[in-house]
């Protein structure tokens, strides 16, 4: 999923650039003086960025003068496509603004995946009696005295209005299905009590729905005064304005440049320490120099650019977490041979055979992906990302085993026949492309009769291909959506009747789809965390034995901030760092 990667560029590593310069000089001796001068400048820059002892200590406390005092400056590679919780897309930049300006019923603390109260004064559980015995009804006591940025009071009516609005609008780009897939009914019990009935018990309700952008609480008065609710139509006012009660108020949006936020002085949990500014910088070279110059307090570059900041003065790193977006490659079991690229020689049932899928998985060099593809900022792929319930270091995961891969290719009959197959990847994407190139190298090195074509297309064409059914390629590469609950990963990517299970035709080749479906469904319905963990452990083993994907790597979530930023905390389950926690 490339949505949060818009604008990121593929770039050579420093050493490769260094090797190109002499060739330019050799061709144009007349340039020597000028190029030498510029090369010296570049060298000087590198030198300037590598002081020996100053700053950069893990505990913060850099000695440089704090730039932009009073404002937290966060540089991001894009800007919101919308500010409306009813229209924001999974992984889009809009979500990142929404979590700063809106409140939710529950929150996630910096160091835990267990929800804590936010607008609800208690997190419903069966122990405190706020979840019914059948696990279907959740009662949320609403905090009194909370006001929206427009000055109106927040009540249970606003909560119901906010959720119902998302469902009624049901925008194709939005995430209404998060609510409609699980909620049967919403009710206002009284001004400060809100109740929800689910279609079936679901332990993932709190993290997947209640703490999610479409469940943000909007001011009913503000929305009704500005266009109200129209089914299927975006609300233009809400697209570019906000109607929240969160710690930040949108002050100004300079299109394509920056968004200014001011702290909400009447915030129910105390006003934040700093105002905030979102700087839109889509060129990662500029992000790097801006960070080195101290103009940005926090940046999140791709791994290829992280290395350029590693030795910089007064720059601190947080690489403790992982992105919740494992990089993966799909196998299509629902192929229309007329749609495949002409060069592909595989039959439609090529991936029906589990041995072929396992052979591909065993051929892939996972270490190369982490060390070269992600510059070391990652770990070999697991079917659930680290930090999500059910993830375990002991969970089975593939490692390269060329001998076993060859055995499986021979056993399935493809070793002697050979094949040519194409894999679709987003053009020049710095993390997706290495998956394709490494697979190509590994597979083609095994047997001269094997050929893997890595087809690079623009992101827009990539997205368009994804909207087609049947999917017109045998394989594609992207990353998962940043889900917070294992059920979302399991339902979306692994369930035989889930979104991708249906589109990629799992039931055409999966050895025991009903068994896997049963385990995933039972885990979804369970409200016992231990039982869920055990069931997901079972599912992970089944997915390993009969893989429908090549899960290539988990990318580290590297947050780079000025050491003058105090109290830096980050929970990967948030959609992005939350400025309300920071000071400088």
């Amino acid at each position: 999923m490339a949505m949060i990667r818009r604008g990121r560029r593929f770039a050579s590593v420093e050493g490769e650039e260094g090797e190109r310069r002499p060739r330019v000089l050799a061709r144009r001796p007349g340039l020597a003086a000028a190029v030498l001068a510029f090369a010296l400048i570049a060298q000087a820059c590198t030198g300037a960025a590598t002081p020996e002892e100053e700053g950069g200590d893990e505990d913060g406390g850099g000695t440089s003068e704090v730039k932009n005092p009073g404002v937290f400056v966060h540089s991001l590679g894009g800007e919101p496509e919308t500010l409306d919780p009813a229209a924001s897309t999974d992984g889009g930049f809009g979500n990142r603004a929404i979590i700063q300006m809106y409140d939710f019923l529950v929150d996630l603390p910096p160091d835990s995946a267990v929800p804590v109260p936010m607008i609800a004064t208690e997190v419903p559980t069966q122990e405190n009696g706020l979840v019914s015995d059948d696990g279907l009804t959740y009662t949320f006591p609403i905090r009194e005295g909370v006001t929206f940025h427009d000055g109106t009071d927040l009540t249970a009516d606003d909560v119901k209005y906010s959720w119902d609005r998302v469902v009624e609008m049901d925008l194709p780009e939005g995430q209404a299905s998060r609510l409609t897939d699980i909620i049967e009914e919403t009710r206002v019990v009284d001004d400060f009590t809100f109740e929800v009935t689910l279609q079936q018990p679901a332990a993932y309700f709190m993290t997947t729905v209640v703490y999610s952008p479409p469940a943000a609480i909007v001011s009913q008065d503000a929305v009704e005064a500005n266009g109200g609710v129209v089914a299927g139509e975006p609300n233009e006012y809400m697209t570019t304005n906000e109607a929240g009660s969160g710690p930040y108020i949108l002050e100004e949006w300079e299109r394509g440049e920056r968004l200014h936020f001011v702290k909400y002085e009447d915030y129910w949990n105390g006003a934040p320490a700093l105002d905030a500014r979102w700087e839109v910088v889509d060129d990662e070279s500029v992000i790097v120099v801006g960070m080195q110059a101290g103009d940005f307090d926090l940046v999140e570059p791709t791994p290829q650019y992280v290395a350029q900041l590693q030795d910089s003065d007064n720059v601190c790193f947080d690489e403790s977490g992982f992105l919740l977006e494992p990089l993966h490659l799909s196998y299509n079991l629902n192929i229309d041979p007329d749609l495949l690229p002409n060069s592909d020689t595989i039959p439609p049932d090529f991936f029906y055979d589990s041995r072929v899928r396992r052979a591909f998985n065993l051929a892939f060099d996972y270490d190369a992906m982490v060390n070269a593809g992600l510059e070391g900022f990652g770990a070999s792929g697991t079917y659930l990302p680290p930090g999500v319930l059910g993830w375990s270091e002991d969970a089975p995961k593939y490692e390269q085993d060329l001998a076993e891969s060859e055995r499986l290719f021979r056993e399935s009959g493809w070793w002697d026949r050979g094949f040519e197959v194409s894999v679709l990847v987003e053009e020049a994407n710095p993390t997706f492309l290495p998956v394709g190139l490494i697979l190509k190298d590994n597979i083609e090195a095994m047997n001269p009769n094997f050929r893997v074509n890595v087809l690079q297309v623009a992101e827009t064409q990539f997205d368009e291909a994804h909207g087609q059914t049947p999917f017109p390629y045998a394989m594609w590469i992207k990353n998962a959506d940043p889900f917070t609950d294992p059920h979302q990963f399991m339902q979306t990517y692994f369930h035989p009747d889930g979104e991708w299970g249906e589109r990629l035709g799992y039931r055409n080749g999966m050895e025991n789809p009903d068994a896997l479906a049963d385990v995933i469904d039972r885990a979804a319905a369970s409200t016992d965390a231990e039982e869920r963990e055990a069931l997901y452990g079972e599912a992970l083993q089944m997915i390993y034995d009969d893989p429908m994907w090549l899960w290539a790597a988990d990318e580290k979530n590297v947050q780079i901030y000025q050491c003058w930023v105090q109290d830096f905390v980050y929970n990967p389950l948030w959609i992005m760092p939350r400025w309300v926690f920071y000071d400088k």
């Binding site: 000028a34 820059c45 570019t240």
Partner: protein
């Protein structure tokens, strides 16, 4: 044919050229991918894609879409810019003015330095100063602009921090009234010296980088034309009359050498518009180039079409102006057109 008649004929052709441009812009925007690609996401189902196509009217036949778009253009409605989350007509003027401000100073630098250095080098052919200027101009023409821009950024933003990123300091910018959108002009109209300094400080480096490439082209053309003119008989005659060398160059050779250079200056506008895409991205300049880059990357057809249309119109008008100037300077152009 008179020059006036030539100008009228060129002006009469302009609407047809513009119409052809709109057809080309629209047709190209329908090649290679969905016209609503910016609104598509990886996980959308075919039904959701269909709903979006209906919302943006791209499910209708192409001629209907073209007529609807052209009608919108005629009314000043260029559609919704997905990358800016606002109507194109709201975003475009500010972006255009930002680019014009940058390109104007860039072209001034290119023309002033180009003609000056080209004349100096041409008059001192094969001397040391000619070699130095040649190195400079060849550098300007050969160095990849993005690399040169990045080096300048590293030098003057990071190592010697005198050139800030962007177009303005938000605190200073918000202090003045924006009558024209040109930050430099508005700061003068507001009689606000700190805003003027802020405008110049932000403008200087990107304009220099942008102008450097244009300077190289102009200087090289100026030098070679001057060298050619200096070998002509009329120059020898002027010298034989006893005119000082400086006057021979200024009054005789340079005037004739300027004729081909003016054509290059006109064409260099295209180079400047191209260059602005790179320079604006590196220096975070909020102009058309950066806007278009984002539009291309994210497949925002409304933004791309507006950018291409506006740059085509600007290019056509600038070329018309250059051709008219050229016609005044060289009557053979007018006669040939007849």
């Amino acid at each position: 044919m008179q020059v006036r008649e030539y100008v009228v004929r060129r002006l009469l052709k302009l609407p047809f050229v513009l119409l052809a441009v709109t057809v080309a812009v629209f047709a190209l925007s329908r090649v290679g991918g969905s016209p609503i690609a910016i609104y598509l996401e990886h996980e959308m189902s075919p039904d959701e894609v269909q709903a979006l196509e209906e919302r943006y009217g791209v499910d209708k036949p192409l001629p209907v879409q073209y007529v609807a778009w052209l009608g919108g253009v005629a009314r000043g409605d260029l559609g919704w810019s997905g990358v800016s989350v606002a109507p194109v007509s709201e975003v475009l003027p500010a972006r255009l003015v930002a680019t014009m401000e940058l390109a104007t100073l860039g072209s001034f630098i290119a023309i002033a330095l180009g003609i000056g250095l080209g004349t100096y080098a041409g008059a001192r052919r094969n001397r040391f100063s000619d070699h130095v200027i040649r190195v400079l101009t060849v550098s300007g023409a050969s160095l990849p602009l993005f690399w040169f821009a990045l080096m300048m950024l590293i030098l003057f933003y990071l190592i010697i921090p005198i050139a800030p990123l962007g177009r303005f300091d938000p605190d200073v910018y918000s202090q003045i009234t924006h009558y024209t959108g040109f930050y430099t002009i508005d700061s003068i109209l507001n009689l606000n010296p700190s805003a003027l300094v802020d405008a110049i400080v932000h403008l200087a480096l990107p304009a220099f980088v942008l102008g450097f490439e244009g300077m190289a082209v102009v200087a090289r053309m100026m030098r070679s034309s001057l060298v050619e003119e200096m070998g002509e008989d009329y120059v020898d005659s002027a010298r034989a009359k006893g005119l000082p060398e400086r006057r021979v160059i200024r009054r005789h050779a340079r005037r004739n050498a300027l004729i081909p250079t003016i054509t290059v200056i006109g064409l260099s506008w295209g180079v400047l518009l191209q260059g602005s895409v790179v320079v604006e991205n590196v220096f975070r300049w909020p102009g058309l180039g950066r806007w278009a880059t984002e539009g291309v990357i994210r497949g925002d057809r409304a933004t791309i079409m507006a950018f291409v249309l506006v740059t085509a119109v600007v290019f056509l008008v600038v070329n018309l102006v250059v051709d008219v100037i050229y016609a005044y300077l060289d009557r053979r152009v007018v006669l040939g057109a007849g």
